[in-house]
């Protein structure tokens, strides 16, 4: 169980809240680069950490993330005209550049300085890999750009999708560090999903439904190790890194691409689940890329033109009781991503953690909550920079390795969970 006030602390990310301020220390995904595909592209409405913004790419290719609403009378700049070097409100023609600076108020005299004194809230928007990243905190404390491996490898080696999840970010994220549900919820996928199947490790996964969990601190967050029995004298370890506050990776399977997530709060009752797949040493094959686009693996099949999954709470996630009964889809819901989102959304928009009953397999969740809480309070009370801000903390990988029983997992796998450019992941 979690005390009510701690549940509130960890789930509320609006401006001025302790967790909201914690999130505002980091670079995180604002949207996908594909949403602003060319210079002068239509602006995109975004809500992040409870703030309504528009992202746009001006006619010179500069990216900006500015307050959604015109400073004049509050009309949404989503209706804006993306014109020569700025976004113009179609109501009375006020125009803004990518820094939020108002550059034109047409009703004013030509020699007026009125526009100079009008500036909208704005945050940086930077393209790295397939993602446009933002930092919504104090400009004076802006950290160096993120260095996550999936965003830095050549474009042909990586793919990122996103989907809207109708729940608070924390319950979505907690699924990302909870390896024990895989044996049940995703058991069908381990056998059939083109991006999972065939790995030797899958057998260890399916054969041992009682993993033992060990959690170890990392510079940026945690490594959660799930230990299952392997051959005589050995354990199969699936190691999940978490970089604070909202980056997780899934342990790999065989030579399949390695994947993971960012869990980004939209507001307290919605979040974006970003899902990426990459291979550190080779291009994704056309078949792999197509499978990702088709919503296999950790990705989702979305309603065309949107980032809402086709299977969602309004259609009961297209529940199929026959496939549930046969075990092809253990929960009756198709696909890893929607298997997760269906259950996480079913908890309600913000799950009441005062009523939960945790077990030893949840030790990663307990440690993560404590780290988030401590970091949020240390920031609020002492201005302490939290773990995960330093880009060096981003150089982590998940791993799936077989280790001698006597060895401590992190001592034995330290190299395996560290980014080694040009080297493959450690995976069975």
């Amino acid at each position: 169980m979690l005390r009510r006030e701690i549940n509130e602390l960890l789930t509320q990310t609006g401006p001025g809240t302790p967790m909201g301020e914690l999130f505002r220390q980091y670079w995180f995904p604002a949207c996908l680069a594909e949403e602003l595909p060319e210079d002068g592209a239509p602006p995109v409405r975004l809500k992040l950490l409870g703030e309504r913004m528009v992202a746009f790419r001006d006619s010179y290719g500069r990216y900006g993330l500015i307050d959604e609403f015109c400073a004049h009378r509050g009309a949404s700049l989503w209706f804006g005209r993306n014109e020569d070097g700025g976004l113009r409100c179609p109501y009375h023609g006020w125009k803004y550049d990518t820094t939020g600076q108002c550059t034109e108020v047409p009703s004013e005299a030509d020699n007026s300085s009125f526009a100079e004194n009008v500036k909208l809230t704005a945050y940086p928007l930077v393209k790295i890999g397939d993602i446009l990243w933002t930092y919504m905190g104090d400009p004076a404390k802006q950290p160096p750009l993120p260095e996550y491996e999936f965003a830095l490898v050549p474009p042909e080696q990586t793919y990122t999708s996103k989907r809207w999840q109708q729940s608070n970010w924390l319950q979505a994220f907690e699924g990302g560090i909870d390896s024990s549900h895989v044996t049940f919820l995703h058991s069908g996928g381990l056998k059939s999903d083109p991006l999972f199947k065939g790995a030797k490790g899958n057998q260890y996964n399916l054969n041992d439904t009682k993993p033992f969990f060990e959690v170890a601190d990392s510079d940026g967050g945690l490594f959660v190790g799930a230990r299952r029995n392997a051959e005589e004298g050995q354990y199969y370890w699936r190691i999940t890194p978490w970089v604070m506050p909202n980056f997780t990776m899934v342990p790999p399977r065989g030579d399949h691409p390695i994947h993971g997530h960012f869990w980004v709060p939209i507001d307290d009752e919605n979040c974006w689940a970003y899902s990426f797949d990459y291979h550190p040493v080779r291009a994704l094959t056309p078949e792999e890329r197509q499978a990702m686009i088709d919503g296999h693996g950790v990705h989702s099949k979305n309603i065309p033109g949107t980032y809402r999954p086709v299977a969602n709470m309004d259609n009961d996630y297209l529940m199929n009781r026959e496939k549930q009964k046969s075990g092809e889809w253990y929960s009756g819901v198709e696909g890893i991503a929607i298997q997760d989102s269906s259950l996480q959304e079913s908890m309600g928009p913000i799950v009441d953690r005062t009523k939960e009953r945790l077990v030893p397999a949840d030790s990663g969740i307990i440690k993560a909550r404590q780290k988030l809480r401590k970091a949020a309070l240390a920031l609020r009370d002492h201005g302490t920079t939290p773990p995960g801000v330093d880009p060096k903390h981003h150089h982590v990988r998940s791993a799936a390795v077989v280790l001698p029983q006597a060895e401590a997992f992190l001592d034995a796998a330290r190299e395996d969970v560290t980014v080694r450019p040009g080297m493959p992941v450690s995976s069975v």
């Binding site: 005390r3 077990v359 809480r373």
Partner: protein, 107 residues
């Protein structure tokens, strides 16, 4: 046999003979002490066996472990100096007479 004394919020004392090596939580559950639940079975992961150890026994009982410490922060209504998860305290002859208070909200 070491004895453990559980004191309820109303002050009622329940003295129980414990097995050497058994936890203070398991001893309470076996003997039906109200307010000590031990939902997770003694693995320091649920915080439903919280007790306040009386001052005079604190140094004998020792410090909480890391996970226990986290749970005392996250899951316990009123954490005090004597707060411990009773599943993490082992009954021994040295702890004979150990006295713990059971928080009112667990009863």
């Amino acid at each position: 046999m070491p004895k453990v004394i559980y004191v309820s919020a109303s002050g009622a004392e329940q003295a129980v003979d414990a097995l050497d090596g058994e936890s203070v939580m398991a001893t309470a559950v076996k003997n039906g002490v109200p307010g000590i639940i031990g939902e997770c079975g003694g693995n320091a992961s649920c915080a439903t066996c919280h007790v306040w150890v009386r001052d005079e026994f604190l140094s004998l009982v020792g410090e909480p472990g890391e996970m226990e410490d986290d749970l005392l922060d996250l899951g316990v209504g009123d954490r005090r100096a004597g707060s411990r998860l009773s599943c993490q305290i082992t009954c021994t002859p040295e702890l004979d007479g150990l006295t713990v208070d059971v928080p009112p909200e667990q009863a």
